[in-house]
């Protein structure tokens, strides 16, 4: 099992519990859509799975490593090595060029393959933009860079939080197609948070989050 979430609880300071008792598993190469009302805790769950934040109860096991005993540094190492992330916005490091952004995570994880990198850039239609800074790119282009960066490290697990939420329909479809095809090609598992039923329908499984539980 690549990712196993078991009876996880999470609440923010001063707020009512967001996740009450969430359990979920994801196998290698599987794709899973996570849907739910706005504010239902989708992003929260994704952040926990990505070892970005700590949780209050239950356990999450990522690629065989239980997360709850890890400290800040331990979680950082795990993020570096085992997961790739694509968010809705501000994915990129503004001070680095597209090229540097693309390779950043892979180099950090220590498994950068320049051939694979340039292949990705080509496939994502970014070859002409490599020297540019993120600021100068359109939303769709930025998200493609984010996907490229995520895939450059050949992750076992890709976590994406509404990666096309800020894009118009055409751009959104284009970005999603690219992402799904890359996932399939690399055999990575995907946990995708989305509002869209159509998108959810394209994945192997879908779960719905409501009231702090998986329905």
């Amino acid at each position: 099992m690549l990712l196993s979430i078991d009876k996880v609880q999470k609440s923010y300071p001063g707020g009512r519990p967001v996740l009450r008792d969430v359990s979920l598993t994801l196998d290698h190469g599987q794709t899973l859509a996570l849907t739910g009302e706005s504010g239902s805790g989708k992003s929260t769950l994704l952040h926990l799975a990505a070892a970005l934040d700590s949780f209050d109860g239950g356990e999450i096991t990522l690629d065989g490593t239980p997360l709850s005993p890890l400290d800040d540094a331990g979680r950082a190492v795990l993020r570096r090595r085992s997961v790739s992330l694509v968010f809705q916005q501000f994915n990129l490091i503004p001070s680095l060029t597209v090229d540097q952004n693309l390779s950043f995570h892979a180099r950090l994880a220590g498994n950068y393959d320049p051939t694979w990198g340039s292949h990705l850039a080509e496939r994502l239609g970014l070859s002409d933009l490599l020297g540019s800074f993120p600021e100068t790119l359109s939303g769709g282009q930025q998200q493609r860079v984010a996907i490229g960066r995520a895939m450059a490290a050949r992750p076992k697990l890709l976590l994406a939080d509404e990666p096309t939420g800020n894009l118009d329909e055409t751009a959104s479809a284009n970005v999603l197609d690219l992402m799904l095809s890359l996932v399939v090609d690399t055999g990575a598992a995907l946990l995708l948070v989305t509002h869209s039923q159509e998108i959810a329908a394209r994945l192997d499984r879908r779960v719905h989050l409501a009231g702090g539980h998986i329905q």
Binding site: S43, H47, L52, F90, P94, S103
Partner: protein
């Protein structure tokens, strides 16, 4: 409506207290340092003016004898020819280790003296009979009274607040006894009311010279350059403080942009907003300025005693060490605060007024672009060239300061360009992704930090420059003292007669007796002190000549030539080979120029025979005595007992050196203090800039964090970044500081003091300064780094969340 807008605008500060505090501290620091310097200058100038008025100096013409004192009979001759003149006898008088100025005036004839009137108006006015007849009375300021009262041999003391603290005023009859100069007069004041017929001076006393008030020594003029120096430093501190203001105001505006957009969308006109913000800024400036005045007042109070000591030591200028608060000063300080704040905010305000209604809230737009960097670079270069051109074409002290200003501001403007270039070069060498990111991030941060770094550059350059100047000066000065103070003992006899006895008694027991005789002459450049020396190897070997003709000592000792000090040489542009005119009738060739530090006036040396020709009546009371240093202390004691000389009349070389060095050290205390303060302000500017940039930081850090760098690593990198930037700036400040030192030594000092010093470099000092800078940068970055360390992941995650 206005009230609602004001409330909305001000509500911002409630949620951003730290920013508010930073802004106020910035204004307060700028105003405080500036006002402190102003207060010191004003206080010193007021002291000069008061002293001049109290002693009725510089108002009337005077008669002087270039050859020395005027005999009493000359005074009577003049009086009996109708000339209404008042006799003054003055000299320095040592009491309890302090050198005081004893001024004896003919109280019957002298124009009303404020000091005397003050004493008259006291509850218990002195009896004129007591003042005029033995033992007489001494009038002194209250500070001085206790010291004098301790002395047994002195006449009774009267106090008055209307006298400078280093002056004893008394009747001339008392002065001639205390100074042991019976029947001598230093100068005659020409009183304003003269009879309708008056024989010309040339018929009665042809040897006397009439000197107008303008050509008498004017302390204010003498010390002008010193004050200009201080003012320049005050201005520098002010500018550095304004960097802080600029940064914080810019940030506040950026943060409130959303609010302002909302207000505008609700129908508030941009004009109205700009006016309200102007009013808000003015209010803040007034509050910060008031704080600054308090700061400045205490700072000036703390620095003034040293300044006073410097001015007394260097120029003999009377300055009391006490501060008094003047309303003009406070008003000027507040005006400066408002002016500075608006100046520093003008840019931000202008951009605000230009902002389209629908522009995004992002902070990115706030940053300047690469093309602006190029533009400021060109402007900086132009300023440097402009400063050089102005100095070369005009010269003089003011042009010297313009050169300095051009160099400093020009270099500051060039700084972002240079730093950016340096960072991109360094980035190329970066291997790992983190290193690459750190350099790239640093370069991206430059525009936001550049103002603070400019402040740091200026502070560092000033530190290196002034430090180099002071250290060079000290080194030169100490060496020069060794050359100049060659005699083991210095003796001052009470009169000519005793002088002869002392030298007769000493002659068989010591290696050499070198009489020190001098007379004050008038020269077109001001007073000129002419010294006579006897031919002794000690002069030939040691005297610190900086320019000389061939056979300089042979010519001088033969009476054919004269040596002049550097001050005179530069002021009058006289060098070996030129003639020095003593009087219309008498001139001598200049054979050499010697360095003469710490002395504001012109000086010249001739052979003893020449001095006797030029000024026959000069007394011989002071001697330098060359002897076995081991016996000097014992001899000093013997001299004191045998000739009943006061302690201070026999001084050993070491004591003299210590005293001179003490004066020297005091001279630069203020400059150094201002220097350290400036560096502190620059450090504070870095802190504010970093805090300012903080909100912009999150979107830049969050992705890196999400990709696997933990917060501890990130906060260490935060520190490293600040330290690296400071280190780079310091590297660029070093050459600038050395250029500054060079300008100070070869331009400003020459103009201000009249001497040029060789430049020595002190790399060890630089290392210390560098470490200090890195420490300052580390401290400045510590707060943001700590924040980073403590930052909840949730806050970082918000960056990615779907909200604007």
């Amino acid at each position: 409506m206005t009230a609602a807008i004001v409330q909305a605008l001000l509500s911002h500060w409630r949620t951003h207290r730290l920013l508010l505090a930073t802004l106020l501290i910035g204004i307060a620091l700028a105003t405080g340092l500036w006002s402190a310097v102003q207060a010191i200058n004003a206080e010193a100038r007021a002291s000069y003016a008061q002293a001049n008025a109290q002693l009725a100096l510089g108002q009337f013409d005077e008669l002087r004898d270039p050859a020395g004192d005027i005999p009493l009979s000359r005074y009577v001759d003049l009086r009996r020819a109708g000339w209404q003149v008042a006799a003054v006898l003055e000299g320095s008088y040592r009491v309890g280790g302090r050198n005081l100025r004893l001024m004896g005036v003919d109280m019957v004839a002298y124009p009303a003296l404020p000091a005397v009137i003050d004493a008259e108006q006291s509850t218990n006015p002195p009896d004129p009979a007591d003042i005029l007849t033995a033992p007489g009375r001494l009038l002194v300021s209250p500070d001085l009274a206790p010291l004098l009262r301790e002395q047994n041999a002195l006449p009774p003391i009267l106090t008055t607040t209307a006298l400078p603290s280093d002056v004893i005023l008394t009747d001339i009859g008392v002065a001639e006894t205390l100074l042991n100069k019976p029947g001598a007069i230093s100068r005659l004041v020409v009183l304003p009311d003269q009879p309708h017929v008056l024989p010309p001076l040339s018929e009665i006393a042809p040897e006397l010279e009439r000197v107008g008030p303008a050509s008498q020594i004017d302390t204010a003029q003498l010390t002008d350059s010193f004050h200009l120096n201080l003012s320049a430093f005050g201005l520098l501190s002010f500018a550095v403080g304004l960097f802080i203001v600029h940064g914080t105001v810019g940030l506040a505006f950026a943060q409130r942009r959303g609010m302002i957009r909302t207000l505008r969308a609700l129908g508030v006109s941009i004009r109205r907003l700009v006016w309200l913000i102007l009013a808000e800024l003015t209010l803040l400036a007034l509050i910060g300025g008031a704080l600054g005045l308090v700061l400045g007042f205490f700072l000036a109070g703390a620095l003034l005693p040293d300044v006073a000591a410097t001015l007394r030591g260097l120029y003999g200028a009377p300055v009391t060490g006490q501060m008094s608060l003047q309303p003009e000063w406070a008003l000027a300080g507040l005006a400066m605060a408002v002016f500075g704040t608006l100046l520093a905010s003008g840019h931000a305000l202008w951009r605000l007024s230009q902002l389209p209604l629908l522009a995004g809230p992002g902070l990115q737009a706030w940053r300047s672009s690469g093309s602006r960097r190029g533009f400021t670079g060109i402007a900086g270069f132009a300023l440097i060239v402009g400063g050089v051109v102005i100095y070369l074409s005009f010269g003089g002290l003011i042009a010297g300061f313009i050169l300095l200003g051009g160099l400093l501001t020009g270099a500051a403007l060039l700084l972002p360009l240079l730093l950016s270039f340096a960072i991109s070069q360094l980035a190329r060498t970066a291997q790992g992704p983190v290193a690459q990111w750190v350099w790239a991030d640093m370069r991206a941060q430059l525009p936001g930090l550049s103002l603070a770094l400019m402040a740091l550059l200026l502070a560092l350059a000033a530190n290196i420059g002034v430090g180099t100047m002071v250290s060079s000066f000290r080194l030169t000065f100490v060496g020069w003292l060794d050359q100049r103070l060659t005699s083991e003992l210095y003796v001052t006899a009470t009169d000519n007669q005793q002088g002869r006895e002392v030298s007769d008694w000493l002659r068989p027991q010591v290696d050499a007796i070198l009489p020190i005789r001098s007379v004050e002459l008038e020269h077109e450049t001001g007073p000129l002190f002419l010294y006579g020396v006897v031919d002794d190897p000690v002069y030939r070997q040691n005297w610190p000549l900086i320019a000389s003709a061939s056979d300089v000592w042979d010519k001088t000792m033969a009476g054919n030539a004269v040596l002049i000090n550097e001050q005179l040489a530069r002021r009058a542009n006289l060098w070996p080979g030129d003639d020095l005119q003593f009087s219309p009738a008498r001139a001598l060739k200049i054979a050499g120029v010697y360095s003469d530090y710490g002395n504001p006036t012109g000086q010249a040396i001739v052979s003893m025979q020449q001095l006797n020709l030029i000024s026959p009546g000069v007394e011989t009371r002071r001697f330098g005595i060359r002897m076995d240093p081991g016996r000097a202390a014992e001899m000093a004691q013997t001299l004191r007992t045998r000739f009943d000389l006061p302690r201070q009349a026999v001084v050993q070389q070491a004591a003299m050196k210590a005293q001179s060095l003490a004066i020297f050290e005091k001279t630069f205390v203020v400059t150094s203090a201002l220097n350290v303060l400036t560096l502190g302000v620059a450090g504070f500017a870095i802190l504010t800039s970093l805090l300012t940039l903080w909100t912009q930081r999150l979107p830049q850090i969050a992705p890196v964090w999400a990709l696997g760098l933990n917060r501890a690593q990130l906060s260490r990198l935060e520190l490293l970044r600040s330290v690296l930037l400071a280190a780079l700036t310091a590297c660029l400040a070093l050459p600038l500081g050395l250029v500054l030192a060079w300008v100070l030594l070869t331009v400003i000092n020459v103009q201000a003091f009249g001497w040029r010093l060789p430049m020595y470099v002190f790399p060890w000092d630089w290392i210390v300064l560098l470490l200090l800078t890195l420490l300052a940068a580390m401290i400045a970055a510590a707060l943001p780094a700590l924040r980073m360390l403590r930052l909840p992941p949730a806050d970082l995650l918000k960056v990615f969340a779907n909200e604007r």
